[in-house]
């Protein structure tokens, strides 16, 4: 595949689980410094698509390229080392480690290798970045839900990802936390990061995304800027019953 200038190019990505086609021949590009929203009703295949990009799952067919180099046949650790970082829809932390160690974990094995003092300082900076520095030496069990999400984000940022995948990072937050959360992603956007955002919070999509891809039953049903896409009739129909649409 030729390097088209996009950070990520997805072509014909397909994932089958037995008879179910969770992701069906998806095509899209993400340009550098772009925030792309990946939206669609529950079960439409968004998380599966994220799993294909991060290497948690291998695609059944199609290809995914990072800056022109194919990554869709690589294991997750190799994709991480090439600069893809992700959070999980159900937060995944390292429960037997302290908050600081959780972040160091993200700094040591990524595409930049840090260790000892350097990794520790870097982890402290990441905790500051997400507003969790005060909890650096606390155990995981002491964290509230939004703090757990912050910690997971700090771990991912510690690996200096060139492409950041956030899977419903704002889900489950209360209104005040939501404001803080949106602000945090806004700052990441301001830093010029390339981000794919899976979200159900439409305010966040409108204010954060440059571009949107809408999925329904594994297929792409619309693509474009958020305002247009959310007004699209087919998109409204896919979301029918969802108050946000």
């Amino acid at each position: 595949m030729r390097y088209s200038g996009a950070v990520l190019s997805v072509r014909g990505a397909t994932k089958r689980f037995g008879g179910l086609v969770a992701v069906d021949a998806l095509d899209f590009d993400v340009a550098e410094h772009q925030v792309m929203g990946l939206i669609g009703p529950n079960g439409s295949g968004k998380t599966t698509m994220m799993n294909l990009i991060s290497g948690a799952l291998q695609p059944t067919a199609g290809s995914i390229a990072l800056k022109g180099a194919r990554i869709s046949n690589l294991p997750a650790q190799e994709i991480t080392r090439r600069g893809v970082g992700r959070t999980f829809q159900l937060v995944r932390l390292l429960p037997s480690m302290s908050v600081l160690e959780n972040v160091i974990a993200g700094a040591v094995f990524g595409h930049r290798h840090r260790w000892g003092r350097e990794a520790e300082d870097h982890a402290h900076r990441m905790l500051e970045r997400v507003g969790l520095e005060a909890m650096a030496f606390a155990p995981i069990s002491a964290l509230t839900y939004i703090d757990q999400k912050r910690l997971e984000l700090a771990r991912v940022l510690a690996g200096d990802p060139e492409l950041l995948l956030l899977d419903e990072w704002l889900a489950g937050l209360n209104p005040t936390e939501l404001e803080t959360g949106i602000e945090l992603i806004h700052d990441l956007r301001g830093e010029g990061r390339t981000i794919i955002l899976v979200e159900h919070v439409m305010d966040a999509i409108r204010s954060l995304c440059d571009n949107c891809v809408v999925m329904s039953s594994g297929k792409k049903i619309a693509e474009g800027n958020p305002a247009d896409v959310l007004a699209d009739r087919e998109v409204v129909r896919a979301y029918l019953g969802d108050e946000d649409a």
Binding site: S54, G55, Q77, T80, L94, S96, V108, F109, G110, W115
Partner: protein, 312 residues
């Protein structure tokens, strides 16, 4: 953190020096118990190197230990090779075996890994017995050396010290950190960039190496060796139980488990020779219901709650 690390190392060194004097204090009965205890300390500590951080329960210790004992015995008995040569070769063979097992079990987790290692150990025992009976003559093997119990004890102590020192370094290295992350969540481990196969297989090889070395060094104690005995599955269970009893969260956990267990075990084996399996079962129940993180885990829990109360 670094200061307490060196403090731990200094205490360990002091204990090793003190332990070296045990053969001067007693021979006969107590020394023989000390040899048994030192053997299990070496085995359980090396088991903890891999299974402690990853939580993969391996029942393959008996197989590696058996490779050590058997190779020493067959080398000396059938081929007139020196003890030292065989004691050096056996761990290398076991390390290669461990690498193969490690690679074969990479995708197995939880109970499947446990069962696979147990089954594999049994298979190796059967193959060795079969080869011995059909091709090498169905007789036992003699391991005749000039070693006294004290010599064997000191060699085992040396191995234990080496395992501990290695573990101390591993715990402070990237590979040790990677193993802890794997033990917490393997998916996260892969997504922070860890090639999970490498640290797992390397540490599993390390435990194989040391278990075989222990098996080789202890072989002269028995003089007469039969493949069926030296590949005992019971040993694998004892290693796991003693490590868990002490606590596999710390490198020095096994020591805390091995010493009381060996003492009681000796007593049970003499007084109730037919009830040893029952005893293993009871200790296992004790661990599961009373000491899920071992004696050390319980002590650390107590220390933490005392600290909390003082702060409150």
């Amino acid at each position: 953190m670094t200061a307490s690390g060196f403090q731990e190392l200094a205490i360990a060194a002091l204990l090793v020096v003190l332990a070296a004097f045990i053969p001067m204090l007693s021979d006969g009965y107590w020394l023989s118990i000390a040899v048994t205890a030192m053997m299990y300390i070496a085995l359980s500590t090396s088991w903890v190197l891999f299974s402690g951080p990853t939580h993969y329960i391996s029942l393959a210790s008996g197989a590696f230990f058996g490779v050590g004992g058997y190779l020493v015995a067959t080398g000396m008995s059938d081929y007139d090779l020196s003890f030292w040569l065989m004691a050096a070769a056996a761990p290398v063979v076991a390390t290669i075996l461990a690498a193969l097992i490690g690679l074969a079990t990479l995708r197995l987790s939880g109970v499947y890994f446990v069962i696979f290692t147990l089954g594999l150990a049994e298979m190796i025992r059967n193959i060795v017995s079969w080869v011995q009976n059909n091709f090498l003559g169905s007789r036992g093997l003699y391991v005749l050396t000039d070693f006294t119990e004290a010599h064997i004890y000191w060699m085992l102590l040396g191995i234990t010290a080496a395992v501990y020192l290695l573990g101390w370094f591993v715990n402070r290295s990237r590979i040790g950190f990677a193993l802890r992350i794997i033990g917490n969540d393997e998916t996260v481990a892969r997504h922070v960039g860890i090639n999970t196969a490498t640290p797992k297989v390397i540490l599993f090889m390390t435990t194989g190496f040391f278990a075989a070395l222990v098996g080789a060094v202890i072989a002269p104690r028995y003089s007469y060796i039969e493949p069926n005995q030296v590949f005992s599955p019971e040993l694998s269970f004892l290693v796991v139980i003693m490590a868990l009893l002490g606590g596999s969260g710390r490198l020095w956990g096994p020591v805390v488990g091995v010493i009381p267990f060996t003492l009681v075990w000796e007593f049970v084996a003499v007084q109730f020779p037919n009830q040893t399996t029952l005893f293993i079962g009871l200790v296992f129940l004790l661990i599961v219901y009373g000491l899920p993180h071992g004696v050390v885990g319980r002590l650390e829990q107590l220390a933490a709650s005392v600290r909390e109360r003082r702060n409150a």
